[in-house]
């Protein structure tokens, strides 16, 4: 299962949001998408999962154009955990996760034992089996995210697209969720805000700035003080963490920087 974007461009009201973006997600890879606010991360993901249609360029799923296949076919191999969308009408957790079965169902088909089993498995895999009959609205932020991941699992897709999955979660739940996603052994592409999380979990990282890819590679290759200064406008120290062996970033605020004002202006954008 591979996902590929070739020279994807997208505009909203004549404003270019994405400019000829190309990325590639290989089988079982965990690919991170980082970049400051407004750099086009979410827009790119939306183009990948067909919510938006690229102005030019193509998106290929297993080498086939996603816009030339039925929505159901795509939904069988590509699952999405979006940013928190308000659920206006309340549903039971069980029903919500069960909705992941939709692309596998024909019009006259009822839910079989098999579907019930898949839903139960998704619930226990995400550690929320005990919430089965609870209402979604009564859950905490971390539990809600897990429900959405469970729904993606019930969908039995091989590729998982995540849009800032750790948003609004406390640090423990952030790590738990990312660990969970890593153990699923799926092909993953995730827009991530937290660069330390990106460094810890990603095999490959793409950096977006003003709608273009400005850097690409392993976390070690990509996360450099120069890139953080140029793209994110922050000064950071980067060490290899002794335990994880992954790059670890420490951001240093402007006020601690003992540099003369002329130089600061070149650091802070």
């Amino acid at each position: 299962m591979t996902l590929q974007a070739n020279y994807v461009s997208y505009s909203i009201h004549d404003q270019r949001i994405l400019h000829e973006v190309s990325i590639q997600v290989k089988e079982q890879q965990f690919v991170g998408l980082i970049g400051p606010n407004g750099s086009g991360k979410s827009t790119l993901l939306k183009n990948l999962y067909r919510l938006l249609k690229p102005e030019s360029g193509t998106v290929l799923l297993n080498e086939k154009d996603i816009f030339k296949q039925p929505s159901k076919t795509i939904a069988k191999s590509l699952a999405v955990v979006g940013q928190e969308t308000p659920i206006l009408f309340d549903f039971q957790v069980r029903d919500l996760v069960g909705m992941g079965r939709t692309p596998h169902k024909k019009l006259f088909e009822i839910d079989h034992q098999e579907d019930v089993r898949i839903v139960k498995e998704a619930l226990s895999q995400t550690g929320i089996a005990h919430l089965e009959t609870r209402n979604f609205s009564s859950l905490s932020g971390g539990e809600k995210k897990r429900v959405m991941v469970a729904r993606a699992l019930a969908q039995q897709a091989n590729i998982l697209i995540l849009d800032e999955p750790t948003n609004h979660l406390d640090i423990q739940h952030q790590l738990q969720l990312m660990d969970l996603i890593q153990t699923l052994h799926l092909t993953v592409i995730a827009a991530l805000h937290d660069l330390n999380i990106a460094a810890m979990y990603c095999d490959q990282i793409y950096v977006l700035q003003h709608g273009s890819i400005v850097s690409y590679g392993t976390p070690e290759e990509v996360l450099t003080p120069a890139l953080l200064r140029d793209v994110f406008g922050v000064y950071a120290e980067i060490q290899t963490h002794p335990l994880t062996g992954k790059p670890h970033l420490t951001y240093i605020s402007e006020q601690f920087l003992k540099v003369d004002p002329k130089e600061t202006s070149s650091i802070i954008i």
């Binding site: 939904a75 309340d90 549903f91 909705m99 609870r134 209402n135 609205s137």
Partner: protein, 355 residues
Amino acid sequence: MNNQTQFSNKKFILFSIVLLLVLGISITLSIMVGSVSITPVYVWKVIFSKIPLFQNLIETDWSRSQEIIIWQIRVPRVLLAAIVGAGLAIAGAAIQALVRNSIADPYILGVSSGATVGATAVLILGAFSFLGIYALSAAAFIGAFISVLFVFFLSRVGRRISIIRLLLAGIAVSLILSAISNFILMMSTREGGIKAVMYWMMGSLAGAKWSYLLIPAIIFICVFLLLWLHYRQLNLLLLGEESSVTLGVNLHRFRMQLIILISLLTGVLVAVSGSIGFVGLIIPHIVRLIVGSNYKYVIPISALLGGIFLIWADTLSRILIAPEEMPIGIITAICGGPFFIWLLRRNNYSFGEGD
């Protein structure tokens, strides 16, 4: 947190059976009451005597006039009430999923105001008189159709339908059409015509005949089955655009299909019964309160409850100020309004406003 947590298939079947029984009892009682009261035994004897298989088993021991009252007047009327109630309720449930908003009712697409223009044209201006007794229904349906067409084209952005534009276009078109109806009314000097239009606007099932039943019944059954079969897609619409798209719903096509189904059903119902308010709004809310948001249950239970509700509303409209008839719209609003207010005051019922 709230009481809608555990509605399973088993409970659904049980609840449906109870409601079917209530529906049967309501039909019987509704046929019994009226200017001439009839015992339940005769009600069912006459009905069964009309069914080919049972015809010979039943001894005819009722008068010709009793048979006419039961078979020609009351039975078609009760059935029409059931179909209109059930139809408006499922149309309401479907439109609330389509626009993802619980204040929507089936008339939001401009159906009722369009139908009113048609009806006013017939009742005041005598249009479509060549259609005879079907003039009113035909004109109402045509009015509804044109109005929905307008709303539909106004809500298109590019090739897609914008839901917010659909809502706003519905309001704008309704306002314009109401103005046209009012203008025709104002220019009219015929006292009787004005009263007839008022009655029509508040809805009535008084004219029910067997010949009026066929088209609404067929359309209702088709739309009901199609909506029920698409319960998964309707659930996803409730969750939002993103969930629908990522779980394989062809959003653009499904929305178009829904608009066609809802306007067809509502148009046909309004054509035979006038614009009966409140049913399409409150029944889906009551149903969600009982069964939760899952449309697998919401669609069939709405149909049953809507049918029962309108049978009783129609029965009341016949007996409250007999021998006059109360317009059924007054009854549905008077019964429905306070209930809705009670629902508003409950803290544990979410009207689809999120957490």
